[in-house]
Symmetry: C3
Amino acid sequence: MEHDGVRIHPSALVETRYVGTGTAIWAFCHVLEGAVVGRDCNIGDGCYIESGARVGDGVTIKNGCMVWDGVTIEDWAFIGPGVVFTNDLRPRSPRGPHARARYADDGWLARTRVGVGASIGAGAVILPGLEIGPYAMVAAGSVVTGGVPAHALVAGAPARRRGWVCACGERLAVEDEVARCGACSRAYAAHGEGLVVVSSAVGG
Amino acid sequence: MEHDGVRIHPSALVETRYVGTGTAIWAFCHVLEGAVVGRDCNIGDGCYIESGARVGDGVTIKNGCMVWDGVTIEDWAFIGPGVVFTNDLRPRSPRGPHARARYADDGWLARTRVGVGASIGAGAVILPGLEIGPYAMVAAGSVVTGGVPAHALVAGAPARRRGWVCACGERLAVEDEVARCGACSRAYAAHGEGLVVVSSAVGG
Amino acid sequence: MEHDGVRIHPSALVETRYVGTGTAIWAFCHVLEGAVVGRDCNIGDGCYIESGARVGDGVTIKNGCMVWDGVTIEDWAFIGPGVVFTNDLRPRSPRGPHARARYADDGWLARTRVGVGASIGAGAVILPGLEIGPYAMVAAGSVVTGGVPAHALVAGAPARRRGWVCACGERLAVEDEVARCGACSRAYAAHGEGLVVVSSAVGG
Protein backbone atom coordinates (compact mmCIF):
# COMPACT_ATOMS: atom_id res chain seq x y z
CA MET A 1 0.00 0.00 0.00
CA GLU A 2 1.60 3.26 -1.17
CA HIS A 3 -0.14 5.30 1.44
CA ASP A 4 2.66 7.45 2.78
CA GLY A 5 1.26 10.84 3.65
CA VAL A 6 -2.34 9.71 3.15
CA ARG A 7 -4.85 10.05 5.98
CA ILE A 8 -7.33 7.19 6.01
CA HIS A 9 -10.02 7.06 8.68
CA PRO A 10 -9.93 3.76 10.59
CA SER A 11 -13.46 2.92 9.44
CA ALA A 12 -12.67 3.47 5.75
CA LEU A 13 -11.91 0.60 3.40
CA VAL A 14 -9.17 1.46 0.93
CA GLU A 15 -8.30 -1.43 -1.36
CA THR A 16 -6.44 0.43 -4.09
CA ARG A 17 -2.71 1.18 -4.11
CA TYR A 18 -3.27 4.40 -6.01
CA VAL A 19 -3.95 7.20 -3.55
CA GLY A 20 -1.75 10.29 -3.80
CA THR A 21 0.15 12.05 -1.04
CA GLY A 22 -1.77 14.57 1.01
CA THR A 23 -5.16 13.03 0.36
CA ALA A 24 -7.62 12.40 3.20
CA ILE A 25 -10.26 9.67 3.03
CA TRP A 26 -12.88 9.92 5.74
CA ALA A 27 -15.16 7.59 7.65
CA PHE A 28 -17.08 4.73 6.01
CA CYS A 29 -15.55 5.34 2.59
CA HIS A 30 -14.85 2.42 0.30
CA VAL A 31 -12.23 2.80 -2.42
CA LEU A 32 -11.97 -0.31 -4.53
CA GLU A 33 -8.97 -2.06 -5.99
CA GLY A 34 -7.64 -0.28 -9.02
CA ALA A 35 -9.43 3.01 -8.40
CA VAL A 36 -7.11 6.01 -8.77
CA VAL A 37 -7.25 9.01 -6.43
CA GLY A 38 -4.72 11.82 -6.89
CA ARG A 39 -2.84 14.04 -4.46
CA ASP A 40 -4.26 16.53 -2.00
CA CYS A 41 -7.84 15.36 -2.35
CA ASN A 42 -10.48 15.36 0.36
CA ILE A 43 -12.95 12.47 0.17
CA GLY A 44 -15.83 12.93 2.62
CA ASP A 45 -17.58 10.28 4.69
CA GLY A 46 -19.35 7.43 2.99
CA CYS A 47 -18.01 7.86 -0.53
CA TYR A 48 -17.61 4.88 -2.85
CA ILE A 49 -14.95 4.96 -5.55
CA GLU A 50 -15.12 1.99 -7.85
CA SER A 51 -12.46 0.15 -9.81
CA GLY A 52 -12.03 2.04 -13.06
CA ALA A 53 -12.84 5.46 -11.57
CA ARG A 54 -10.16 8.14 -11.78
CA VAL A 55 -9.95 11.19 -9.53
CA GLY A 56 -7.32 13.89 -10.21
CA ASP A 57 -5.36 16.10 -7.82
CA GLY A 58 -6.82 18.65 -5.43
CA VAL A 59 -10.36 17.32 -5.86
CA THR A 60 -12.97 17.78 -3.13
CA ILE A 61 -15.64 15.09 -2.96
CA LYS A 62 -18.20 15.71 -0.26
CA ASN A 63 -20.00 12.97 1.65
CA GLY A 64 -22.00 10.16 0.19
CA CYS A 65 -20.87 10.32 -3.44
CA MET A 66 -20.46 7.27 -5.63
CA VAL A 67 -17.88 7.44 -8.37
CA TRP A 68 -18.34 4.51 -10.73
CA ASP A 69 -16.20 2.75 -13.26
CA GLY A 70 -16.02 5.02 -16.29
CA VAL A 71 -16.15 8.30 -14.33
CA THR A 72 -13.12 10.59 -14.52
CA ILE A 73 -12.90 13.67 -12.30
CA GLU A 74 -10.14 16.07 -13.28
CA ASP A 75 -7.97 18.20 -11.02
CA TRP A 76 -9.49 20.72 -8.61
CA ALA A 77 -13.07 19.72 -9.27
CA PHE A 78 -15.70 19.95 -6.51
CA ILE A 79 -18.29 17.21 -6.15
CA GLY A 80 -21.03 18.20 -3.71
CA PRO A 81 -22.69 15.97 -1.13
CA GLY A 82 -24.97 13.26 -2.40
CA VAL A 83 -24.07 13.73 -6.08
CA VAL A 84 -25.09 10.65 -8.07
CA PHE A 85 -23.10 9.59 -11.10
CA THR A 86 -24.28 6.87 -13.49
CA ASN A 87 -22.66 4.75 -16.18
CA ASP A 88 -25.52 2.83 -17.80
CA LEU A 89 -28.20 4.58 -19.86
CA ARG A 90 -30.73 1.73 -19.74
CA PRO A 91 -29.96 -0.28 -16.63
CA ARG A 92 -31.53 -3.66 -16.01
CA SER A 93 -30.68 -6.23 -13.38
CA PRO A 94 -28.12 -8.52 -15.03
CA ARG A 95 -29.39 -11.29 -12.73
CA GLY A 96 -32.66 -11.84 -14.58
CA PRO A 97 -32.97 -13.72 -17.88
CA HIS A 98 -34.59 -10.77 -19.67
CA ALA A 99 -31.51 -8.59 -20.00
CA ARG A 100 -28.58 -10.95 -19.68
CA ALA A 101 -27.46 -10.29 -23.26
CA ARG A 102 -27.06 -6.60 -22.42
CA TYR A 103 -24.33 -7.43 -19.93
CA ALA A 104 -22.46 -10.05 -21.94
CA ASP A 105 -19.72 -7.43 -22.54
CA ASP A 106 -19.12 -3.86 -21.37
CA GLY A 107 -20.90 -2.20 -24.27
CA TRP A 108 -23.37 -0.80 -21.74
CA LEU A 109 -20.67 1.33 -20.06
CA ALA A 110 -20.98 5.06 -20.84
CA ARG A 111 -18.15 7.26 -19.59
CA THR A 112 -18.39 10.63 -17.85
CA ARG A 113 -15.74 13.31 -17.49
CA VAL A 114 -15.83 16.23 -15.05
CA GLY A 115 -13.41 18.92 -16.23
CA VAL A 116 -10.72 20.79 -14.36
CA GLY A 117 -12.06 23.01 -11.60
CA ALA A 118 -15.72 22.24 -12.31
CA SER A 119 -18.31 22.10 -9.51
CA ILE A 120 -21.24 19.70 -9.22
CA GLY A 121 -23.81 20.94 -6.73
CA ALA A 122 -25.31 18.90 -3.92
CA GLY A 123 -27.71 16.14 -4.85
CA ALA A 124 -27.26 16.58 -8.60
CA VAL A 125 -27.79 13.52 -10.81
CA ILE A 126 -25.50 13.15 -13.81
CA LEU A 127 -26.76 10.98 -16.66
CA PRO A 128 -24.10 8.75 -18.25
CA GLY A 129 -21.86 9.53 -21.17
CA LEU A 130 -21.53 13.29 -20.60
CA GLU A 131 -18.76 15.85 -20.41
CA ILE A 132 -18.94 18.56 -17.77
CA GLY A 133 -16.59 21.27 -19.04
CA PRO A 134 -13.75 22.94 -17.13
CA TYR A 135 -14.90 25.33 -14.39
CA ALA A 136 -18.56 24.65 -15.18
CA MET A 137 -20.99 24.80 -12.28
CA VAL A 138 -24.00 22.49 -11.91
CA ALA A 139 -26.56 23.87 -9.47
CA ALA A 140 -27.63 21.76 -6.51
CA GLY A 141 -30.48 19.39 -7.31
CA SER A 142 -30.00 19.51 -11.08
CA VAL A 143 -30.51 16.53 -13.36
CA VAL A 144 -27.85 16.81 -16.06
CA THR A 145 -28.92 15.15 -19.32
CA GLY A 146 -26.50 16.76 -21.78
CA GLY A 147 -22.97 18.11 -21.97
CA VAL A 148 -22.09 21.29 -20.07
CA PRO A 149 -19.77 23.86 -21.72
CA ALA A 150 -16.72 25.27 -19.97
CA HIS A 151 -17.65 27.95 -17.39
CA ALA A 152 -21.39 27.41 -17.92
CA LEU A 153 -23.78 27.55 -14.96
CA VAL A 154 -26.59 25.03 -15.42
CA ALA A 155 -29.63 24.34 -13.26
CA GLY A 156 -32.91 22.46 -13.33
CA ALA A 157 -34.30 19.09 -14.35
CA PRO A 158 -33.27 18.72 -17.11
CA ALA A 159 -30.43 21.17 -16.48
CA ARG A 160 -30.32 24.22 -18.78
CA ARG A 161 -27.73 26.97 -19.01
CA ARG A 162 -28.59 29.93 -16.77
CA GLY A 163 -25.39 31.93 -17.02
CA TRP A 164 -21.62 31.79 -16.79
CA VAL A 165 -19.21 31.49 -13.89
CA CYS A 166 -15.61 32.44 -13.30
CA ALA A 167 -12.97 29.98 -12.14
CA CYS A 168 -13.18 31.76 -8.77
CA GLY A 169 -16.90 30.97 -8.45
CA GLU A 170 -18.44 34.38 -9.20
CA ARG A 171 -21.02 34.91 -11.92
CA LEU A 172 -19.87 36.47 -15.17
CA ALA A 173 -21.81 38.87 -17.36
CA VAL A 174 -20.87 37.96 -20.92
CA GLU A 175 -21.21 40.84 -23.40
CA ASP A 176 -20.00 40.80 -27.01
CA GLU A 177 -18.47 37.37 -26.36
CA VAL A 178 -16.10 38.67 -23.69
CA ALA A 179 -16.37 38.94 -19.92
CA ARG A 180 -14.33 40.11 -16.95
CA CYS A 181 -14.90 38.87 -13.43
CA GLY A 182 -15.85 41.63 -11.01
CA ALA A 183 -14.29 39.71 -8.12
CA CYS A 184 -10.92 38.46 -9.38
CA SER A 185 -10.54 40.35 -12.69
CA ARG A 186 -9.93 37.26 -14.83
CA ALA A 187 -10.95 37.96 -18.43
CA TYR A 188 -12.73 35.50 -20.73
CA ALA A 189 -13.60 35.12 -24.38
CA ALA A 190 -16.10 32.84 -26.10
CA HIS A 191 -14.49 29.60 -27.23
CA GLY A 192 -16.51 26.80 -28.80
CA GLU A 193 -19.63 26.28 -26.73
CA GLY A 194 -18.09 27.79 -23.63
CA LEU A 195 -15.59 30.36 -22.41
CA VAL A 196 -11.83 30.36 -22.08
CA VAL A 197 -9.69 32.56 -19.84
CA VAL A 198 -7.61 35.15 -21.71
CA SER A 199 -6.16 37.08 -18.77
CA SER A 200 -5.35 35.79 -15.29
CA ALA A 201 -6.50 37.05 -11.95
CA VAL A 202 -4.54 39.90 -10.43
CA GLY A 203 -2.23 38.24 -7.96
CA GLY A 204 -3.80 34.87 -8.74
CA MET B 1 -28.89 -17.50 10.64
CA GLU B 2 -29.76 -19.22 7.32
CA HIS B 3 -26.89 -17.68 5.52
CA ASP B 4 -25.41 -20.63 3.69
CA GLY B 5 -24.17 -19.48 0.34
CA VAL B 6 -24.69 -15.81 1.18
CA ARG B 7 -21.75 -13.40 0.96
CA ILE B 8 -21.92 -10.74 3.64
CA HIS B 9 -19.19 -8.13 3.85
CA PRO B 10 -17.60 -8.05 7.32
CA SER B 11 -18.72 -4.44 7.82
CA ALA B 12 -22.37 -5.17 6.97
CA LEU B 13 -25.00 -5.68 9.65
CA VAL B 14 -27.47 -8.42 8.73
CA GLU B 15 -30.04 -9.04 11.44
CA THR B 16 -32.64 -10.95 9.45
CA ARG B 17 -32.71 -14.71 8.94
CA TYR B 18 -34.26 -14.32 5.51
CA VAL B 19 -31.54 -13.89 2.92
CA GLY B 20 -31.55 -16.28 -0.03
CA THR B 21 -28.69 -18.37 -1.40
CA GLY B 22 -26.35 -16.67 -3.81
CA THR B 23 -27.06 -13.16 -2.56
CA ALA B 24 -24.22 -10.73 -1.83
CA ILE B 25 -24.56 -7.92 0.71
CA TRP B 26 -21.75 -5.39 0.55
CA ALA B 27 -20.02 -2.99 2.92
CA PHE B 28 -21.85 -0.85 5.46
CA CYS B 29 -25.26 -2.34 4.63
CA HIS B 30 -27.83 -2.78 7.35
CA VAL B 31 -30.57 -5.36 6.88
CA LEU B 32 -32.98 -5.37 9.80
CA GLU B 33 -34.67 -8.21 11.57
CA GLY B 34 -37.58 -9.58 9.61
CA ALA B 35 -36.58 -8.03 6.28
CA VAL B 36 -36.75 -10.52 3.42
CA VAL B 37 -34.14 -10.64 0.65
CA GLY B 38 -34.40 -13.33 -2.04
CA ARG B 39 -31.84 -15.41 -3.88
CA ASP B 40 -29.09 -14.23 -6.21
CA CYS B 41 -29.46 -10.57 -5.30
CA ASN B 42 -26.68 -8.01 -5.22
CA ILE B 43 -27.07 -5.35 -2.51
CA GLY B 44 -24.51 -2.56 -2.93
CA ASP B 45 -22.63 -0.69 -0.20
CA GLY B 46 -24.54 1.31 2.35
CA CYS B 47 -28.05 0.02 1.67
CA TYR B 48 -30.64 -0.13 4.44
CA ILE B 49 -33.41 -2.72 4.27
CA GLU B 50 -35.97 -2.30 7.00
CA SER B 51 -38.17 -4.79 8.79
CA GLY B 52 -41.23 -5.25 6.64
CA ALA B 53 -39.41 -4.70 3.34
CA ARG B 54 -39.45 -7.54 0.82
CA VAL B 55 -36.94 -8.02 -1.98
CA GLY B 56 -37.43 -10.81 -4.57
CA ASP B 57 -34.89 -12.97 -6.40
CA GLY B 58 -32.23 -11.73 -8.81
CA VAL B 59 -32.69 -8.11 -7.75
CA THR B 60 -29.84 -5.60 -8.12
CA ILE B 61 -29.85 -2.76 -5.59
CA LYS B 62 -27.04 -0.30 -6.12
CA ASN B 63 -25.34 1.62 -3.33
CA GLY B 64 -27.00 3.83 -0.78
CA CYS B 65 -30.63 2.78 -1.23
CA MET B 66 -33.09 2.62 1.64
CA VAL B 67 -35.89 0.10 1.35
CA TRP B 68 -38.49 0.81 4.00
CA ASP B 69 -41.24 -1.15 5.65
CA GLY B 70 -44.05 -1.38 3.11
CA VAL B 71 -41.79 -1.53 0.04
CA THR B 72 -41.86 -4.71 -2.07
CA ILE B 73 -39.38 -5.17 -4.90
CA GLU B 74 -40.19 -8.05 -7.20
CA ASP B 75 -37.81 -10.44 -8.96
CA TRP B 76 -35.13 -9.13 -11.34
CA ALA B 77 -35.76 -5.47 -10.64
CA PHE B 78 -32.91 -2.94 -10.77
CA ILE B 79 -32.75 -0.18 -8.16
CA GLY B 80 -30.15 2.42 -9.10
CA PRO B 81 -27.73 4.17 -6.74
CA GLY B 82 -29.19 6.65 -4.31
CA VAL B 83 -32.83 5.82 -5.06
CA VAL B 84 -35.07 7.08 -2.26
CA PHE B 85 -38.24 5.24 -1.37
CA THR B 86 -40.83 6.64 1.02
CA ASN B 87 -43.75 5.23 2.99
CA ASP B 88 -45.46 8.25 4.56
CA LEU B 89 -47.27 10.85 2.46
CA ARG B 90 -47.35 13.56 5.14
CA PRO B 91 -44.47 12.85 7.49
CA ARG B 92 -44.10 14.62 10.80
CA SER B 93 -41.76 13.88 13.66
CA PRO B 94 -43.69 11.52 15.93
CA ARG B 95 -41.62 12.90 18.81
CA GLY B 96 -43.41 16.24 18.96
CA PRO B 97 -46.86 16.77 20.51
CA HIS B 98 -48.32 18.23 17.32
CA ALA B 99 -48.53 15.01 15.29
CA ARG B 100 -48.52 12.25 17.86
CA ALA B 101 -52.06 11.19 16.95
CA ARG B 102 -50.89 10.51 13.38
CA TYR B 103 -48.57 7.77 14.62
CA ALA B 104 -50.88 6.13 17.15
CA ASP B 105 -51.32 3.25 14.66
CA ASP B 106 -49.83 2.39 11.26
CA GLY B 107 -52.52 4.13 9.24
CA TRP B 108 -49.79 6.45 7.94
CA LEU B 109 -48.01 3.57 6.14
CA ALA B 110 -48.42 3.66 2.34
CA ARG B 111 -47.06 0.65 0.46
CA THR B 112 -45.00 0.64 -2.75
CA ARG B 113 -44.47 -2.19 -5.21
CA VAL B 114 -41.78 -2.35 -7.88
CA GLY B 115 -42.78 -4.92 -10.51
CA VAL B 116 -40.81 -7.79 -12.03
CA GLY B 117 -37.81 -6.65 -14.05
CA ALA B 118 -38.48 -2.93 -13.58
CA SER B 119 -35.63 -0.39 -13.34
CA ILE B 120 -35.49 2.67 -11.12
CA GLY B 121 -32.81 5.08 -12.29
CA ALA B 122 -30.18 6.66 -10.07
CA GLY B 123 -31.27 9.26 -7.58
CA ALA B 124 -34.97 8.88 -8.34
CA VAL B 125 -37.43 9.65 -5.55
CA ILE B 126 -40.53 7.46 -5.31
CA LEU B 127 -43.54 8.92 -3.52
CA PRO B 128 -45.40 6.48 -1.29
CA GLY B 129 -48.31 4.25 -2.18
CA LEU B 130 -47.39 3.66 -5.85
CA GLU B 131 -47.07 0.71 -8.21
CA ILE B 132 -44.17 0.65 -10.66
CA GLY B 133 -45.24 -1.84 -13.32
CA PRO B 134 -43.28 -4.82 -14.62
CA TYR B 135 -40.29 -3.91 -16.81
CA ALA B 136 -41.02 -0.19 -16.44
CA MET B 137 -38.04 2.16 -16.48
CA VAL B 138 -37.82 5.30 -14.32
CA ALA B 139 -35.18 7.71 -15.62
CA ALA B 140 -32.41 8.85 -13.30
CA GLY B 141 -33.33 11.86 -11.21
CA SER B 142 -37.09 11.47 -11.65
CA VAL B 143 -39.62 12.22 -8.95
CA VAL B 144 -42.37 9.62 -9.31
CA THR B 145 -45.73 10.88 -8.05
CA GLY B 146 -48.11 8.40 -9.72
CA GLY B 147 -48.26 4.81 -10.86
CA VAL B 148 -46.11 3.68 -13.78
CA PRO B 149 -47.59 1.23 -16.36
CA ALA B 150 -45.79 -1.95 -17.41
CA HIS B 151 -42.95 -1.26 -19.87
CA ALA B 152 -43.40 2.52 -19.62
CA LEU B 153 -40.38 4.83 -19.64
CA VAL B 154 -40.99 7.80 -17.35
CA ALA B 155 -38.81 10.83 -16.64
CA GLY B 156 -38.96 14.23 -14.98
CA ALA B 157 -40.25 15.85 -11.83
CA PRO B 158 -43.05 14.93 -11.66
CA ALA B 159 -42.30 11.93 -13.85
CA ARG B 160 -44.30 11.66 -17.09
CA ARG B 161 -44.35 8.90 -19.68
CA ARG B 162 -41.82 9.52 -22.47
CA GLY B 163 -41.96 6.19 -24.28
CA TRP B 164 -41.89 2.45 -23.89
CA VAL B 165 -39.09 -0.01 -23.16
CA CYS B 166 -38.52 -3.68 -23.83
CA ALA B 167 -37.67 -6.18 -21.11
CA CYS B 168 -34.15 -6.17 -22.58
CA GLY B 169 -33.79 -2.41 -21.99
CA GLU B 170 -34.19 -1.08 -25.54
CA ARG B 171 -36.76 1.53 -26.50
CA LEU B 172 -39.87 0.35 -28.28
CA ALA B 173 -41.79 2.17 -31.00
CA VAL B 174 -45.44 1.39 -30.37
CA GLU B 175 -47.64 1.59 -33.49
CA ASP B 176 -51.27 0.47 -33.73
CA GLU B 177 -50.98 -0.83 -30.14
CA VAL B 178 -48.27 -3.35 -31.04
CA ALA B 179 -44.48 -3.19 -30.98
CA ARG B 180 -41.49 -5.38 -31.72
CA CYS B 181 -38.08 -4.81 -30.18
CA GLY B 182 -35.38 -4.11 -32.76
CA ALA B 183 -32.74 -5.59 -30.47
CA CYS B 184 -34.20 -8.84 -29.14
CA SER B 185 -37.33 -9.27 -31.32
CA ARG B 186 -39.75 -9.63 -28.40
CA ALA B 187 -43.24 -8.56 -29.51
CA TYR B 188 -45.71 -6.57 -27.39
CA ALA B 189 -49.36 -5.59 -27.43
CA ALA B 190 -51.21 -2.91 -25.49
CA HIS B 191 -52.69 -4.28 -22.26
CA GLY B 192 -54.45 -2.05 -19.78
CA GLU B 193 -52.35 1.06 -19.24
CA GLY B 194 -49.15 -0.66 -20.36
CA LEU B 195 -47.79 -3.35 -22.63
CA VAL B 196 -47.56 -7.11 -22.37
CA VAL B 197 -45.21 -9.43 -24.20
CA VAL B 198 -46.88 -11.63 -26.82
CA SER B 199 -43.82 -13.27 -28.37
CA SER B 200 -40.51 -14.08 -26.71
CA ALA B 201 -37.03 -13.08 -27.72
CA VAL B 202 -35.32 -15.26 -30.32
CA GLY B 203 -33.07 -17.52 -28.31
CA GLY B 204 -34.14 -15.74 -25.13
CA MET C 1 -18.95 12.18 27.20
CA GLU C 2 -22.33 13.27 28.59
CA HIS C 3 -24.14 10.38 27.08
CA ASP C 4 -26.29 9.16 29.93
CA GLY C 5 -29.55 7.93 28.54
CA VAL C 6 -28.36 8.18 24.95
CA ARG C 7 -28.45 5.11 22.71
CA ILE C 8 -25.52 5.04 20.31
CA HIS C 9 -25.16 2.12 17.91
CA PRO C 10 -21.75 0.45 18.26
CA SER C 11 -20.87 1.32 14.66
CA ALA C 12 -21.67 5.03 15.08
CA LEU C 13 -18.97 7.63 15.68
CA VAL C 14 -20.06 10.28 18.16
CA GLU C 15 -17.35 12.82 18.88
CA THR C 16 -19.43 15.59 20.41
CA ARG C 17 -20.29 15.94 24.09
CA TYR C 18 -23.62 17.53 23.27
CA VAL C 19 -26.23 14.85 22.77
CA GLY C 20 -29.38 15.07 24.86
CA THR C 21 -31.04 12.40 26.97
CA GLY C 22 -33.36 10.02 25.20
CA THR C 23 -31.76 10.46 21.81
CA ALA C 24 -30.89 7.46 19.65
CA ILE C 25 -28.09 7.55 17.06
CA TRP C 26 -28.09 4.60 14.70
CA ALA C 27 -25.57 2.63 12.67
CA PHE C 28 -22.77 4.26 10.67
CA CYS C 29 -23.64 7.78 11.87
CA HIS C 30 -20.89 10.31 12.40
CA VAL C 31 -21.52 13.23 14.75
CA LEU C 32 -18.55 15.56 14.87
CA GLU C 33 -17.00 17.40 17.76
CA GLY C 34 -18.99 20.43 18.75
CA ALA C 35 -22.19 19.43 16.96
CA VAL C 36 -25.27 19.82 19.15
CA VAL C 37 -28.12 17.28 19.18
CA GLY C 38 -31.01 17.78 21.57
CA ARG C 39 -33.13 15.39 23.62
CA ASP C 40 -35.43 12.65 22.39
CA CYS C 41 -34.17 12.74 18.82
CA ASN C 42 -33.93 9.82 16.46
CA ILE C 43 -30.99 9.96 14.05
CA GLY C 44 -31.20 7.23 11.40
CA ASP C 45 -28.38 5.16 9.92
CA GLY C 46 -25.59 6.88 8.06
CA CYS C 47 -26.28 10.48 9.07
CA TYR C 48 -23.46 13.01 9.31
CA ILE C 49 -23.79 15.95 11.68
CA GLU C 50 -20.95 18.41 11.37
CA SER C 51 -19.34 20.72 13.87
CA GLY C 52 -21.44 23.87 13.94
CA ALA C 53 -24.72 22.08 13.18
CA ARG C 54 -27.49 22.36 15.77
CA VAL C 55 -30.41 19.96 16.14
CA GLY C 56 -33.21 20.69 18.63
CA ASP C 57 -35.33 18.36 20.75
CA GLY C 58 -37.68 15.68 19.47
CA VAL C 59 -36.28 15.86 15.94
CA THR C 60 -36.49 12.88 13.58
CA ILE C 61 -33.71 12.64 11.02
CA LYS C 62 -34.09 9.69 8.69
CA ASN C 63 -31.19 7.78 7.16
CA GLY C 64 -28.40 9.25 5.10
CA CYS C 65 -28.83 12.95 5.88
CA MET C 66 -25.93 15.36 6.16
CA VAL C 67 -26.35 18.32 8.45
CA TRP C 68 -23.56 20.79 7.83
CA ASP C 69 -22.04 23.62 9.77
CA GLY C 70 -24.50 26.50 9.60
CA VAL C 71 -27.63 24.34 9.58
CA THR C 72 -30.03 24.65 12.52
CA ILE C 73 -32.96 22.26 12.87
CA GLU C 74 -35.50 23.32 15.46
CA ASP C 75 -37.55 21.16 17.81
CA TRP C 76 -39.87 18.46 16.46
CA ALA C 77 -38.80 18.83 12.85
CA PHE C 78 -38.79 15.85 10.49
CA ILE C 79 -35.95 15.43 8.02
CA GLY C 80 -36.70 12.69 5.51
CA PRO C 81 -34.27 10.11 4.15
CA GLY C 82 -31.57 11.33 1.83
CA VAL C 83 -32.30 15.04 2.35
CA VAL C 84 -29.32 17.12 1.22
CA PHE C 85 -28.52 20.38 2.94
CA THR C 86 -25.91 22.83 1.60
CA ASN C 87 -24.02 25.79 3.00
CA ASP C 88 -22.11 27.26 0.05
CA LEU C 89 -23.90 28.93 -2.85
CA ARG C 90 -20.98 28.77 -5.29
CA PRO C 91 -18.80 25.90 -4.18
CA ARG C 92 -15.35 25.34 -5.61
CA SER C 93 -12.64 22.98 -4.45
CA PRO C 94 -10.54 25.00 -2.00
CA ARG C 95 -7.60 22.78 -2.98
CA GLY C 96 -7.07 24.35 -6.40
CA PRO C 97 -5.38 27.72 -6.98
CA HIS C 98 -8.38 29.16 -8.82
CA ALA C 99 -10.68 29.61 -5.84
CA ARG C 100 -8.39 29.72 -2.83
CA ALA C 101 -9.30 33.33 -2.09
CA ARG C 102 -12.95 32.30 -1.71
CA TYR C 103 -12.04 30.14 1.29
CA ALA C 104 -9.61 32.48 3.02
CA ASP C 105 -12.33 33.16 5.59
CA ASP C 106 -15.85 31.83 6.22
CA GLY C 107 -17.63 34.44 4.14
CA TRP C 108 -18.80 31.59 1.88
CA LEU C 109 -20.90 30.06 4.69
CA ALA C 110 -24.66 30.55 4.22
CA ARG C 111 -26.86 29.44 7.10
CA THR C 112 -30.12 27.48 6.94
CA ARG C 113 -32.85 27.17 9.55
CA VAL C 114 -35.59 24.57 9.64
CA GLY C 115 -38.43 25.78 11.86
CA VAL C 116 -40.26 24.04 14.69
CA GLY C 117 -42.24 21.03 13.56
CA ALA C 118 -41.42 21.44 9.87
CA SER C 119 -41.04 18.44 7.55
CA ILE C 120 -38.54 18.05 4.73
CA GLY C 121 -39.55 15.24 2.39
CA ALA C 122 -37.29 12.44 1.20
CA GLY C 123 -34.52 13.32 -1.22
CA ALA C 124 -35.20 17.06 -1.13
CA VAL C 125 -32.27 19.40 -1.80
CA ILE C 126 -32.15 22.63 0.22
CA LEU C 127 -30.14 25.49 -1.27
CA PRO C 128 -28.10 27.45 1.27
CA GLY C 129 -29.12 30.52 3.20
CA LEU C 130 -32.83 29.74 3.50
CA GLU C 131 -35.47 29.65 6.21
CA ILE C 132 -38.01 26.82 6.23
CA GLY C 133 -40.86 28.11 8.39
CA PRO C 134 -42.48 26.39 11.35
CA TYR C 135 -44.65 23.39 10.40
CA ALA C 136 -43.94 23.87 6.70
CA MET C 137 -43.83 20.76 4.55
CA VAL C 138 -41.41 20.28 1.66
CA ALA C 139 -42.55 17.52 -0.70
CA ALA C 140 -40.23 14.62 -1.43
CA GLY C 141 -37.82 15.29 -4.28
CA SER C 142 -38.19 19.07 -4.17
CA VAL C 143 -35.35 21.48 -4.82
CA VAL C 144 -35.87 24.40 -2.44
CA THR C 145 -34.40 27.65 -3.77
CA GLY C 146 -36.23 30.20 -1.63
CA GLY C 147 -37.69 30.63 1.83
CA VAL C 148 -40.77 28.64 2.80
CA PRO C 149 -43.51 30.31 4.90
CA ALA C 150 -44.91 28.78 8.07
CA HIS C 151 -47.38 25.95 7.33
CA ALA C 152 -46.76 26.15 3.56
CA LEU C 153 -46.65 22.98 1.47
CA VAL C 154 -44.09 23.36 -1.31
CA ALA C 155 -43.16 20.97 -4.12
CA GLY C 156 -41.19 20.85 -7.36
CA ALA C 157 -37.87 21.96 -8.75
CA PRO C 158 -37.69 24.80 -7.98
CA ALA C 159 -40.17 24.31 -5.16
CA ARG C 160 -43.37 26.39 -5.33
CA ARG C 161 -46.21 26.68 -2.84
CA ARG C 162 -48.99 24.18 -3.56
CA GLY C 163 -51.10 24.58 -0.44
CA TRP C 164 -51.07 24.72 3.32
CA VAL C 165 -50.66 22.08 6.01
CA CYS C 166 -51.68 21.78 9.62
CA ALA C 167 -49.24 21.02 12.42
CA CYS C 168 -50.79 17.55 12.48
CA GLY C 169 -49.87 16.94 8.84
CA GLU C 170 -53.26 17.32 7.15
CA ARG C 171 -53.89 19.75 4.31
CA LEU C 172 -55.68 22.97 5.11
CA ALA C 173 -58.17 24.82 2.93
CA VAL C 174 -57.50 28.50 3.53
CA GLU C 175 -60.51 30.77 2.89
CA ASP C 176 -60.74 34.46 3.75
CA GLU C 177 -57.31 34.17 5.43
CA VAL C 178 -58.51 31.65 8.01
CA ALA C 179 -58.55 27.87 8.08
CA ARG C 180 -59.58 25.03 10.36
CA CYS C 181 -58.12 21.56 10.16
CA GLY C 182 -60.69 18.88 9.38
CA ALA C 183 -58.64 16.29 11.24
CA CYS C 184 -57.58 17.92 14.51
CA SER C 185 -59.68 21.12 14.52
CA ARG C 186 -56.74 23.49 15.02
CA ALA C 187 -57.64 26.94 13.64
CA TYR C 188 -55.28 29.23 11.73
CA ALA C 189 -55.09 32.79 10.51
CA ALA C 190 -52.85 34.42 7.92
CA HIS C 191 -49.74 35.91 9.48
CA GLY C 192 -46.99 37.46 7.40
CA GLU C 193 -46.24 35.15 4.50
CA GLY C 194 -47.61 32.11 6.29
CA LEU C 195 -50.17 30.97 8.83
CA VAL C 196 -50.27 30.98 12.62
CA VAL C 197 -52.39 28.83 14.90
CA VAL C 198 -55.13 30.68 16.71
CA SER C 199 -56.92 27.77 18.38
CA SER C 200 -55.42 24.48 19.55
CA ALA C 201 -56.42 20.96 18.70
CA VAL C 202 -59.22 19.41 20.71
CA GLY C 203 -57.48 17.30 23.30
CA GLY C 204 -54.14 18.18 21.71
